[in-house]
Point group: C2
C-alpha cells in the first residue's frame, strides 16, 4: 500500500481504536458512514472482537449485507452468531446469489430457514443451483444475473430490449445468445452492439471463440482461464450445455488473492482465513497443532544427535558448530523447495521437466557448498585452531547442501502424489531432512576421524 492510502487508513483506524477504547460506540459507528463496504470490512478485521461486535450491531442491515462478502470466514461466522434471525434475514436478503451461497454454510439453521421462506421461487431455485456445486468450482463462483438474447434478431431489437431493462447488472461486458431450450450458442460484447449498425443481424456478430466454462471446473482453473484470455466475464454451463450463470472478474480476483494468501500462511501452518484478532484460546489451540508437529520432527533430529553422545563428549566444539551445518542446509533446501513449489502452483514445473531442474539445483547446491564450506572452514580454524575439525565441517556442509537441493526439488511432487499440500508440509519435512543429514554428516564424519 502507498503512503497516502496507508496514512488515511491508519488515521481512520487510530480514531476508531480511540473511540472504542473510550466505549463511544455511536461515535465509532458514525466514523464508518462515508466508507466503502470493503473499507469497513477491513476496519472491522483490524479491531479486537469486543469492539468489532459492538460496531457491527450498530450498522444498518443493508450495509451489513454489503460488508459480509468482504470479511474472512472466521469473522463472518462470529458476527453472524451475534445477530438474531430477523437481523440476519434483513442483512442477507439483498445479496447476490453467489455471495449468499458463500455465507449459507455459516448461517444458523433457523436463519437459513427463514431466509428461504422469504425468497421467491426463482431466487430459491437459483440459490439451490449455486449451492449444488462446490464452493471452489465455477458453479460455486457463478452468479445468475445474466442477460440473454436470441440469435435471429437485429442489433436494433437488442438495444430496444436493453432500454426496457433500464440498467444492466454490474460488470456486464457481454450478453449471451441462447436458443429456445437455453442451450448456449455464443456471446455478444456490448461494445459490439455499440459499434455496429442497427440493422446488423445478431447472428453475424456472435463471438464463438469464447467457450463456456463447465460448472464443475475448479476455481483455480477458472482464474487461469481468465488471466490467459483477459476476460471480464465468462458464461457457465451445466453438463447439458445449458447456460446457468456467469463468472465475473471480481470473484476471480478473490480466488487469486486467496490462493496467494494460502501459499504464504500455510508456510507457518496458518489458515488463510485466520482472524488476526481471534480469541486467545482459539488461536492457542490452532497454533498448538503446528508446534506439536514440529516437536515430533525436532525430536527425530535430536535423536540422531543422541547417537553421537560419545563423539560430542570427546570434542565439545562439535556441539557448538553443529547448528551451522544444519542451518545452511535448511536455507539452501528451502530456496529450492519454494522455487519448485511455486513453479508447480503456477504450472511451470511438472514431472517432465523436473529432472532437468533437479540437475540444475543439485549443481547450484554443489557450487555453493564449495564456496561456503571454504568460508566456514576458515572461520572454524580461526575459532578452534583445529585443522581436522575445519575439514570435517567443510565436507559436511557440501554433503548437506547437495542433499538439500535434491530433497527440495523432489519433495513437492512426492507430497502431491500422496495428496499432501506441499505449501503446508514441505518446509517442516525439508528442514527435518536437512537437520538429520547435517547432524549425521558432521558428527558421523567427526566420529570417523577423531
Amino acid at each position: 500500500m502507498s503512503e497516502v492510502e496507508n496514512t488515511s487508513f491508519k488515521n481512520c483506524l487510530r480514531r476508531l481504536m480511540t473511540s472504542l477504547e473510550d466505549l463511544e460506540y455511536e461515535e465509532a459507528t458514525s466514523q464508518l458512514a462515508a466508507l466503502y463496504p470493503a473499507e469497513i470490512a477491513r476496519l472491522l478485521e483490524s479491531v479486537p472482537p469486543k469492539g468489532r461486535t459492538q460496531l457491527w450491531l450498530n450498522i444498518d442491515s443493508e450495509t451489513q449485507g454489503d460488508i459480509l462478502k468482504y470479511l474472512n470466514e472466521n469473522v463472518q461466522s462470529k458476527l453472524l452468531s451475534e445477530m438474531n434471525v430477523d437481523g440476519i434475514v434483513k442483512a442477507t436478503e439483498g445479496l447476490d446469489m453467489d455471495d449468499l451461497a458463500d455465507i449459507v454454510p455459516v448461517l444458523p439453521e433457523s436463519a437459513l430457514h427463514n431466509l428461504l421462506l422469504r425468497l421467491d421461487y426463482k431466487h430459491k431455485n437459483h440459490l439451490k443451483q449455486v449451492l449444488y456445486y462446490p464452493e471452489n468450482s465455477a458453479g460455486g463462483l457463478m452468479n445468475i444475473d445474466i442477460i440473454t438474447v436470441r440469435s435471429d434478431v437485429t442489433v436494433r431489437t437488442v438495444i430496444r430490449y436493453l432500454r426496457l431493462l433500464k440498467e444492466m447488472p454490474i460488470d456486464t461486458d457481454q450478453v449471451f445468445v441462447v436458443d429456445r431450450t437455453y442451450q448456449y450458442l455464443g456471446s455478444i460484447y456490448i461494445s459490439t452492439l455499440l459499434t455496429n449498425e442497427a440493422e446488423q443481424n445478431i447472428d453475424s456478430l456472435i463471438n464463438k471463440n469464447l467457450r463456456p466454462i463447465l460448472a464443475t471446473t475448479n476455481d483455480n482453473e477458472v482464474a487461469s482461464l481468465f488471466e490467459k484470455r483477459n476476460l471480464i466475464s465468462a458464461p457457465v454451463v451445466d453438463e447439458n450445455n445449458q447456460l446457468i450463470g456467469r463468472i465475473t472478474i471480481d470473484d476471480v480476483v478473490d480466488v487469486i488473492r486467496d490462493e496467494a494468501e494460502h501459499s504464504v500462511m500455510s508456510m507457518a501452518g496458518l489458515n488463510e482465513e485466520e482472524d488476526v484478532f481471534a480469541p486467545v484460546m482459539q488461536s492457542t489451540k490452532r497454533r498448538s497443532i503446528w508446534l506439536g508437529v514440529n516437536l515430533i520432527t525436532v525430536f527425530i533430529a535430536v535423536f540422531f544427535i543422541g547417537l553421537f553422545e560419545a563423539t560430542l563428549q570427546a570434542k565439545i566444539a562439535l556441539a557448538i558448530l553443529m547448528p551451522v551445518v544444519a542451518s545452511m542446509g535448511g536455507i539452501a533446501g528451502t530456496q529450492t523447495l519454494i522455487l519448485v513449489t511455486r513453479g508447480i502452483a503456477m504450472g511451470r514445473v511438472t514431472t517432465s521437466n523436473l529432472k532437468v531442474l533437479m540437475n540444475k539445483e543439485v549443481a547450484i547446491g554443489f557450487f555453493n557448498g564449495i564456496v561456503w564450506s571454504l568460508v566456514i572452514s576458515v572461520a572454524t580454524y580461526v575459532w578452534f585452531a583445529d585443522l581436522m575439525l575445519s575439514l570435517v565441517i567443510a565436507l559436511a556442509v557440501i554433503v548437506n547442501l547437495i542433499f538439500a537441493a535434491f530433497s527440495g526439488a523432489f519433495l513437492p511432487l512426492l507430497l502431491i502424489k500422496f495428496k499432501i499440500d506441499p505449501a503446508l508440509a514441505g518446509g517442516v519435512i525439508l528442514t527435518t531432512i536437512t537437520d538429520v543429514i547435517g547432524f549425521v554428516a558432521f558428527l558421523g564424519l567427526a566420529a570417523l576421524v577423531i
Copy 2:
C-alpha cells in the same frame, strides 16, 4: 490448477520436452501454433534455456510481441538479447504502450533507437508519457487507448461516433467525458449508453462518483482501489487533472499476482522474477548472497553456545536437546511474524492496533509454552531420567515462546521503519533472535543450577 488443465498442460510440456531433447525444433515450434500467447509464455518458462532460445527464434514476430508481456523479466531480457535489432523492432512495434514501456528498460540501445524512429509522433509522445512515470505507478501501468466524448451531446451522437470507430479497445467498459482542454469531467459506462434513450443528454448520465487516479499513485494502491470498488477500468489523470490514460483490470491482476509472488519468494531470499531455469552460475551467485547472510546470523547464534562450553562439557545432554528449544521458538515466532507481516501488507495491522495484537500473541506464546514445555519435560525425563534437566528445558521453552511472540509481532513494523522489507528480512532476523534466546535461556539456566 485442476487435474484437467494440469493434465493438458503436462501433455503439452511432455511433448515439447521430447521434441527439444531430440533437437526437432520445427516440430516443437509447430506444437505451439494453436496456443494462447500466455500459454506459450508459460511453456517457454518451463523449458531449459537452450531449447527456449531455439523455440523463440522460430516464432513469428507478431506472436513474439504478444508473448513478451507474459514472460518474467529475466526470461524477457535473455530472449531479447538473442534477437537482432530488426527482429526486436518487428516484435515490439505492435505492442500497447504500457507493455512496450515495461520492456524498454531491457531493450538494447540500438533496438530502442530504431523502434523510436518507426513510431509516429502521437505514439512516441504516448510512450514518453508512460515512461515518464515509474513502472510501479499508475502512470506506468496505464494505457492510452481511451475513448473520449464531450458532455454537450446526446446518446445518439455518441453511438453514431462509436459506430464510426468500428471497434473499441478491449476491456472498454466506459468512455470518458472531457472538456475542450482535456480536463477530466467524468465517465459514462457503455452499458448506460445502451439502456438509455437516444435523445438523453450525456450531461445527465455522467458518472461523477468515479474519481480519477493520479498518475503518481503507487500500483499496490491502484490494485486496492480496483478491489474496493470492483472496477474494470479507471481513468488516469496528471497533476493538472488532464486525462492521460486508463488502467484496465488485467494489468491490476498482474500487480496482485506479483505482490503475492514477492511475499512467497522473498521468504527464501528469492526474487519474484526468478527464472526456474536460469543458468547454474547465475543462480549460484544469487542464492549465495542469501546463504552468506544466513551464515552470519548462524555464527551469531553459535557464538552464544560457545559461551557455555564448560556447561556443555559438564552435561552433554544439553548439547543434544538445545535444538529443541531453539526450534520451538523459531516455529512459534514465525507464525506470529507471518500473521503480522501479511496483516500489514493487507492493511489490517498498523501501529494503532499493534499493542492489542502483541498482548494477544504473547498470551498465546505463554499458553502454548505451558502446554508444550510439559510434553517436552516429560520426554526429556523419559530419555535422560534427570529431573533438573527436565525443569530447565521446560522453563527455557516457555521463555523462548514468549520472546518469540513478542519479536514476531514487533519486528515487521520496526523493519518497515528502517525501510527494510519484512517479507525478505523478517524470517532470518527472527530465527536469529529465537536461536540466541533459546540457547542462552537453556544453557544459562543449566549453568545456574547444574
